[in-house]
Protein backbone atom coordinates (compact mmCIF):
# COMPACT_ATOMS: atom_id res chain seq x y z
CA UNK A 1 0.00 0.00 0.00
CA UNK A 2 1.27 3.48 -0.82
CA UNK A 3 2.33 5.50 2.18
CA UNK A 4 0.32 8.66 2.77
CA UNK A 5 2.04 12.02 2.67
CA UNK A 6 0.38 13.35 5.79
CA UNK A 7 -1.79 10.66 7.33
CA UNK A 8 -0.12 7.94 9.31
CA UNK A 9 -1.27 4.68 10.84
CA UNK A 10 -1.76 4.20 14.55
CA UNK A 11 1.36 2.00 14.69
CA UNK A 12 3.47 4.63 12.97
CA UNK A 13 2.07 7.28 15.29
CA UNK A 14 3.08 5.21 18.33
CA UNK A 15 6.56 4.76 16.87
CA UNK A 16 6.92 8.52 16.37
CA UNK A 17 5.56 9.08 19.87
CA UNK A 18 8.30 6.79 21.24
CA UNK A 19 10.96 8.66 19.27
CA UNK A 20 9.60 11.97 20.56
CA UNK A 21 10.26 10.85 24.15
CA UNK A 22 13.98 10.76 23.28
CA UNK A 23 13.96 13.89 21.14
CA UNK A 24 14.63 11.82 18.02
CA UNK A 25 11.50 12.60 15.98
CA UNK A 26 11.95 15.03 13.11
CA UNK A 27 9.84 18.18 12.80
CA UNK A 28 7.80 16.64 9.99
CA UNK A 29 7.17 13.50 12.03
CA UNK A 30 5.96 15.60 14.94
CA UNK A 31 3.52 17.43 12.64
CA UNK A 32 2.14 14.10 11.39
CA UNK A 33 1.83 12.89 14.99
CA UNK A 34 0.05 16.07 16.06
CA UNK A 35 -2.44 15.62 13.24
CA UNK A 36 -3.13 12.03 14.24
CA UNK A 37 -3.43 13.04 17.89
CA UNK A 38 -6.13 15.54 17.00
CA UNK A 39 -8.61 12.82 16.09
CA UNK A 40 -7.33 9.38 17.20
CA UNK A 41 -8.26 8.48 20.77
CA UNK A 42 -6.02 5.39 20.83
CA UNK A 43 -2.94 7.38 19.83
CA UNK A 44 -3.89 10.08 22.32
CA UNK A 45 -4.21 7.57 25.17
CA UNK A 46 -0.87 6.01 24.23
CA UNK A 47 0.79 9.41 24.03
CA UNK A 48 -0.55 10.44 27.45
CA UNK A 49 0.70 7.25 29.04
CA UNK A 50 4.07 7.60 27.33
CA UNK A 51 4.50 11.21 28.48
CA UNK A 52 3.52 10.24 32.02
CA UNK A 53 6.18 7.52 32.03
CA UNK A 54 8.85 9.90 30.76
CA UNK A 55 7.91 12.43 33.47
CA UNK A 56 8.07 9.74 36.16
CA UNK A 57 11.50 8.58 35.03
CA UNK A 58 12.87 12.12 34.90
CA UNK A 59 11.36 12.91 38.29
CA UNK A 60 12.76 9.78 39.94
CA UNK A 61 16.35 10.54 38.87
CA UNK A 62 17.06 6.80 38.70
CA UNK A 63 20.48 5.59 37.72
CA UNK A 64 21.94 2.26 36.66
CA UNK A 65 25.30 0.67 35.95
CA UNK A 66 26.99 1.00 32.57
CA UNK A 67 27.78 -2.33 30.89
CA UNK A 68 31.52 -2.08 31.59
CA UNK A 69 30.88 -1.17 35.23
CA UNK A 70 28.57 -4.17 35.63
CA UNK A 71 31.10 -6.46 33.91
CA UNK A 72 33.79 -5.36 36.35
CA UNK A 73 31.61 -6.19 39.35
CA UNK A 74 30.54 -9.45 37.71
CA UNK A 75 34.10 -10.53 37.00
CA UNK A 76 35.17 -9.89 40.59
CA UNK A 77 32.12 -11.69 41.93
CA UNK A 78 32.43 -14.71 39.66
CA UNK A 79 36.05 -15.15 40.67
CA UNK A 80 34.96 -15.29 44.32
CA UNK A 81 32.01 -17.53 43.48
CA UNK A 82 34.25 -19.99 41.63
CA UNK A 83 36.50 -20.25 44.67
CA UNK A 84 33.53 -21.32 46.76
CA UNK A 85 32.04 -23.86 44.36
Amino acid sequence: MKKSFLFISCEEAKHICDKTQYGEATGWERIKLALRLSWCRITKAYSNKNNKLTDAIEHSEIDCLKNDERSKIKQQFEKELAKRQ
Binding site: H15, D18, Q21, N50, D63, K72
Partner: protein, 184 residues
Protein backbone atom coordinates in the same frame (compact mmCIF):
# COMPACT_ATOMS: atom_id res chain seq x y z
CA UNK B 1 10.78 -24.93 54.73
CA UNK B 2 12.32 -21.54 53.90
CA UNK B 3 10.12 -19.26 51.80
CA UNK B 4 13.03 -17.91 49.78
CA UNK B 5 16.27 -19.36 48.56
CA UNK B 6 19.54 -17.84 47.44
CA UNK B 7 20.89 -18.23 43.95
CA UNK B 8 24.10 -16.18 43.73
CA UNK B 9 24.60 -17.03 40.05
CA UNK B 10 21.83 -14.56 39.17
CA UNK B 11 22.58 -11.82 41.67
CA UNK B 12 24.50 -9.49 39.36
CA UNK B 13 21.97 -9.70 36.53
CA UNK B 14 18.96 -9.33 38.79
CA UNK B 15 20.01 -6.90 41.48
CA UNK B 16 23.13 -4.94 40.52
CA UNK B 17 21.20 -2.03 38.98
CA UNK B 18 18.69 -1.88 41.81
CA UNK B 19 21.43 -1.88 44.44
CA UNK B 20 23.48 0.66 42.50
CA UNK B 21 20.50 3.01 42.23
CA UNK B 22 19.85 2.55 45.96
CA UNK B 23 23.48 3.38 46.75
CA UNK B 24 24.07 6.30 44.39
CA UNK B 25 21.09 8.15 45.84
CA UNK B 26 22.74 7.84 49.25
CA UNK B 27 26.45 8.31 48.65
CA UNK B 28 26.39 10.50 45.54
CA UNK B 29 29.69 9.11 44.26
CA UNK B 30 29.60 6.76 41.27
CA UNK B 31 32.87 4.94 41.96
CA UNK B 32 32.12 4.54 45.66
CA UNK B 33 28.62 3.27 44.85
CA UNK B 34 30.12 0.59 42.56
CA UNK B 35 32.56 -0.45 45.28
CA UNK B 36 29.80 -0.70 47.87
CA UNK B 37 27.62 -2.79 45.54
CA UNK B 38 30.54 -5.08 44.78
CA UNK B 39 31.36 -5.43 48.48
CA UNK B 40 27.71 -6.21 49.19
CA UNK B 41 27.66 -9.12 46.76
CA UNK B 42 30.91 -10.49 48.19
CA UNK B 43 29.64 -10.11 51.76
CA UNK B 44 26.41 -11.82 50.74
CA UNK B 45 28.40 -14.73 49.39
CA UNK B 46 30.33 -15.03 52.64
CA UNK B 47 27.25 -14.93 54.85
CA UNK B 48 24.96 -17.14 52.78
CA UNK B 49 24.73 -19.60 55.65
CA UNK B 50 23.07 -16.91 57.78
CA UNK B 51 20.19 -16.49 55.32
CA UNK B 52 17.04 -17.79 56.98
CA UNK B 53 14.81 -17.57 53.91
CA UNK B 54 12.26 -15.28 55.55
CA UNK B 55 13.01 -12.27 53.37
CA UNK B 56 13.46 -12.17 49.62
CA UNK B 57 16.95 -12.30 48.15
CA UNK B 58 16.79 -8.63 47.22
CA UNK B 59 15.64 -7.51 50.68
CA UNK B 60 18.42 -9.54 52.25
CA UNK B 61 21.05 -8.01 49.94
CA UNK B 62 19.68 -4.51 50.62
CA UNK B 63 20.04 -5.11 54.36
CA UNK B 64 23.72 -5.97 53.81
CA UNK B 65 24.14 -2.91 51.60
CA UNK B 66 22.58 -0.66 54.25
CA UNK B 67 25.23 -1.78 56.72
CA UNK B 68 27.94 -1.15 54.14
CA UNK B 69 26.65 2.38 53.57
CA UNK B 70 26.55 3.05 57.33
CA UNK B 71 30.14 1.76 57.63
CA UNK B 72 31.17 4.04 54.77
CA UNK B 73 29.76 7.09 56.56
CA UNK B 74 31.28 5.99 59.86
CA UNK B 75 34.67 5.80 58.20
CA UNK B 76 34.27 9.29 56.74
CA UNK B 77 33.16 10.67 60.09
CA UNK B 78 36.10 9.10 61.90
CA UNK B 79 38.25 11.48 59.87
CA UNK B 80 36.10 14.43 60.89
CA UNK B 81 38.73 15.90 63.21
CA UNK B 82 41.11 16.18 60.28
CA UNK B 83 38.61 17.88 58.06
CA UNK B 84 38.44 21.62 57.77
CA UNK B 85 35.29 23.42 56.75
CA UNK B 86 35.86 26.48 54.65
CA UNK B 87 33.11 28.92 53.81
CA UNK B 88 34.03 31.68 51.45
CA UNK B 89 31.79 34.66 51.81
CA UNK B 90 31.80 37.24 49.14
CA UNK B 91 34.30 39.96 49.94
CA UNK B 92 33.05 42.22 47.21
CA UNK B 93 31.97 45.50 48.85
CA UNK B 94 29.29 46.07 46.20
CA UNK B 95 27.32 43.07 47.40
CA UNK B 96 27.67 44.03 51.02
CA UNK B 97 24.58 43.09 52.99
CA UNK B 98 23.48 40.54 50.40
CA UNK B 99 25.31 37.60 51.91
CA UNK B 100 22.45 36.56 54.16
CA UNK B 101 19.88 36.72 51.37
CA UNK B 102 22.12 34.62 49.18
CA UNK B 103 22.13 31.92 51.80
CA UNK B 104 18.47 31.88 52.71
CA UNK B 105 16.85 28.51 51.91
CA UNK B 106 15.24 28.42 48.51
CA UNK B 107 11.54 27.59 49.03
CA UNK B 108 11.46 25.94 45.61
CA UNK B 109 14.46 23.81 46.38
CA UNK B 110 14.04 20.07 46.89
CA UNK B 111 12.87 19.03 50.32
CA UNK B 112 13.51 15.76 52.17
CA UNK B 113 9.96 14.74 51.30
CA UNK B 114 10.66 15.20 47.58
CA UNK B 115 13.74 13.07 47.93
CA UNK B 116 11.85 10.27 49.68
CA UNK B 117 9.14 10.39 47.02
CA UNK B 118 11.76 10.27 44.26
CA UNK B 119 13.41 7.27 45.91
CA UNK B 120 10.08 5.47 46.21
CA UNK B 121 9.27 6.30 42.61
CA UNK B 122 12.67 4.97 41.56
CA UNK B 123 11.98 1.73 43.47
CA UNK B 124 8.58 1.40 41.78
CA UNK B 125 10.19 1.84 38.36
CA UNK B 126 12.82 -0.78 39.20
CA UNK B 127 10.13 -3.19 40.41
CA UNK B 128 8.37 -2.80 37.07
CA UNK B 129 11.65 -3.05 35.15
CA UNK B 130 12.42 -6.36 36.85
CA UNK B 131 9.27 -7.84 35.30
CA UNK B 132 10.42 -7.09 31.73
CA UNK B 133 12.22 -9.62 29.54
CA UNK B 134 15.99 -9.21 29.92
CA UNK B 135 16.64 -7.76 26.45
CA UNK B 136 13.84 -5.20 26.70
CA UNK B 137 15.04 -4.08 30.12
CA UNK B 138 18.62 -3.79 28.93
CA UNK B 139 17.75 -1.70 25.86
CA UNK B 140 15.38 0.46 27.88
CA UNK B 141 17.98 1.17 30.55
CA UNK B 142 20.66 2.02 28.00
CA UNK B 143 18.38 4.31 26.04
CA UNK B 144 16.35 5.93 28.80
CA UNK B 145 18.44 5.91 31.95
CA UNK B 146 21.98 6.04 30.58
CA UNK B 147 20.93 8.20 27.62
CA UNK B 148 22.98 6.34 24.98
CA UNK B 149 22.21 7.17 21.38
CA UNK B 150 20.53 4.66 19.09
CA UNK B 151 23.67 3.91 17.08
CA UNK B 152 25.78 3.11 20.16
CA UNK B 153 23.17 0.70 21.53
CA UNK B 154 22.74 -0.99 18.14
CA UNK B 155 26.50 -1.49 17.83
CA UNK B 156 26.91 -2.70 21.38
CA UNK B 157 24.01 -5.16 21.29
CA UNK B 158 24.33 -6.02 17.60
CA UNK B 159 20.73 -5.16 16.73
CA UNK B 160 19.15 -2.99 14.03
CA UNK B 161 17.57 0.39 14.75
CA UNK B 162 14.09 -0.91 13.95
CA UNK B 163 14.68 -3.82 16.31
CA UNK B 164 15.70 -1.33 18.99
CA UNK B 165 12.52 0.71 18.57
CA UNK B 166 10.36 -2.42 18.76
CA UNK B 167 12.05 -3.37 22.05
CA UNK B 168 11.68 0.17 23.37
CA UNK B 169 8.01 0.24 22.39
CA UNK B 170 7.29 -3.06 24.14
CA UNK B 171 9.25 -2.02 27.23
CA UNK B 172 7.51 1.36 27.45
CA UNK B 173 4.05 -0.16 27.02
CA UNK B 174 4.66 -2.79 29.71
CA UNK B 175 6.27 -0.27 32.06
CA UNK B 176 3.49 2.28 31.63
CA UNK B 177 0.87 -0.41 32.40
CA UNK B 178 2.82 -1.62 35.42
CA UNK B 179 3.32 1.93 36.73
CA UNK B 180 -0.37 2.65 36.14
CA UNK B 181 -1.18 -0.28 38.41
CA UNK B 182 1.39 0.45 41.10
CA UNK B 183 2.08 4.16 41.18
CA UNK B 184 0.05 6.65 39.12
Amino acid sequence: MAKHQLNPNNWIDLYSDYLFNYTISRVNDRVMAQDLVSETFLAGLKSMKNFKGEASERTWLVSILKRKIIDYYRKINSNKGKAEVRMTYNNDSESEGDWLEERVADPFDKTAEDKIENTELGNAIYDCLSKLPEKQAEVFKMKTILGYDTETICNELNITASNLWVLIHRARTALADCMEENWF
